[in-house]
């Protein structure tokens, strides 16, 4: 049996293909056409594996572009897919924090990765990958550099909760000659606090799976660890949890 999961996010598209032997992934920037990128990435991965679309028994589409994918057998929301994928990647975790490009979500899950409750922030850029990107740009940095720069620095307090105001606050701090590392450390802390206040509404969790591209930021992870007082686990496939979950749900669906 071959199944696939296609996660078309606002920034990147991820595909997971499950054969009886192995799981393989492919990622690509979504660009301006979710529909075409979704199809091309899916076909590309199948080709690499020496399969054709006809070999695939079931495809689940997810992510914001899920409705625009004509080739999927079923569309399932990213909440359900992320939960399923994260539970597969990390054992005994009861909560998933996913920070994506446009939104962040906190999902309470059971052992099997079934959603018990969730909250989602997609109204406001603060607390999303976009926010980090904006601030990195204001500091003349690449997002990938943020974590390293903040290492061991005492966080400066940032007062603005809104992404737009935070950006000007950061520019102000720079002008005042403050250390970039301290500013970034402060930024991480403010995002962590924001995420934590959402997470705490869902009750306590001792072991939390952190997914999404932003999870690669070690500085932010340790802030979250501190603020939430929980074990924070970042799986190597942190950006692929949605696609993996979609593929697993495709397999569940067939059996």
């Amino acid at each position: 049996m071959i199944v696939a999961g296609v996660d078309v996010g606002s920034i990147s598209t991820k595909v997971a293909v499950l054969t009886p032997e192995k799981i393989t992934y492919k990622m690509a920037p979504t660009g301006w056409s979710p529909r075409e990128t979704g199809l091309a990435t899916y076909q590309g991965l199948l080709q690499e594996l020496g399969h054709s679309e006809d070999d695939v028994d079931f495809v689940v589409g997810t992510g914001y572009g899920r409705i625009s994918l004509p080739f999927v057998s079923k569309a399932i929301t990213e909440i359900t897919c992320h939960a399923r994928g994260a539970a597969h990647l990390v054992n005994d975790s009861t909560m998933v924090i996913d920070i994506g490009g446009q939104d962040s979500k906190i999902i309470k899950i059971d052992q099997k990765g079934k959603v018990l409750d969730f909250v989602m922030n997609d109204k406001c850029a603060a607390g999303t990958g976009r926010f980090l990107q904006m601030i990195a740009a204001a500091l003349g940095l690449d997002v990938a550099e943020l974590s390293e720069l903040s290492r061991g620095k005492t966080p400066l307090t940032l007062n603005s909760m809104c992404a737009v105001f935070a950006e000007s606050e950061v520019i102000g701090l720079l002008a005042a000659g403050r250390d970039k590392g301290e500013i970034v450390a402060g930024l991480h802390q403010s995002i962590a606090r924001r995420i934590a206040s959402m997470a705490q509404r869902m009750g306590k969790a001792a072991r939390i799976t952190f997914t999404g591209g932003v999870a690669r930021n070690e500085g932010l992870c340790s802030c979250l660890r501190e603020v939430l007082g929980a074990e924070i686990i970042v799986p190597a496939e942190c950006q692929l949890a949605g696609a993996l979950g979609a593929a697993l749900l495709a397999r569940d669906y067939l059996s």
């Binding site: 929301t77 909440i79 359900t80 018990l116 969730f118 989602m120 509404r201």
Partner: protein, 424 residues
Amino acid sequence: MADYRQMWTDLEMDLEKHDLLCEALPDAFGGIYLSQENRPQGMDFFDFVVAEIHGVRPAELIEHQQKGGKVFGTFCVYVPDEVIFAAGAISTGLCGGSQFWVPGGEKVLPTNTCPLIKASVGARLDKTCPFFRIADMYVGETTCDGKKKAWEILASDVPMHIIDIPQMKRAKDIDGFAEEIKEFIKVVEDFTGNKVTAQVLGESIKLINNKRKALQRLYATRKAALVPISGKDALLVTQIAFYDDPTRNAQMVNKLCDELEERIARKDGVFPENAKRILITGTPMAIPNWKLHHIVETAGAVVVVEELCTGTRYFENLVDESATTLDAQVRALAERYMKTNCACFTPNPGRIDDIIRLVRDYKADGVIDYNLQFCGLYSTESYLIKQALDAQGIPLLHIETDYSEQDFEQLRTRVEAFLEMLGK
């Protein structure tokens, strides 16, 4: 819509702007309503009311005025319509439910005001709604802060009377509200020149109770395993009840119910039996706000009950009809209205009890707590609702939104994820 341009001109409306609204409505309504399958025939009347919303009923109100009658505009389910009808006047709901009016409101109100208030103020100031033009007097109330201040702005443009609604429900508050009703009677008598006697008030209590009973009967049909009417349609019927003539409204709702009860007997539902059943609670959905119902029902679930002011809060409680003196009637009115549970009261445990009871009665699988943006009262109360429903093991989704379309897809994702969680 038929041609009402002369009437709108006489009402000194902004015709050009109003045309834009008239152009948009049929499409919106067609897409959301007429696309539904197997709709009850009894909905034809309500479809007609919407199609002619700025024509037929306004024309009736004007006819009433030409005969010397008065029209009162109201914004809240705590305003006792009985008093208005007893004085030979007509009461009509004025809450704005469209994004179309929001920018007009934003010209004078802070951005962080709830869209319902913005739209209501905008509809008046922009002169784009005949109901807002027709009403001779507006009746405001002291419920939320946003409304209290909005009345002061509207008062410079239209005669206003404000009813002081208590914020707690102690015995002395109910006594106080009875006093307010007496004062309101006086205001209405002076404004209309008609006396409110025990005789006429008794009749009008029955009139409004009959309308409530019809809506109760409608909602009871939604308890069926195979729901005979969509949540969207039921919501529309309730929304129209705020505008229409109460006698005709009760008649038409009862006629619809005859059909729905037959459908239940025939096991003819508008959704499959395994469709997830949703209760919606929260801030009011004024016409034409159908956004959340549309999202839920196009995702395959069915809304079976609304714990909203455009829902059970409007009609659940009846006024005791046995009183024969004016004092006793006023008392009965005060007691009835103080049974309604709005978040503007503290504490407000009755609302939580209502939600849990309705979940059981309507066999709801999950609850969506719907908050208009910037409504501090309801969004704060959400926390308490979450705690109470968690303790009962009732799944809950909290949603905050406004009248615009821009978050439509995000809301759809949340609602679909919620339905997946319920095991769609």
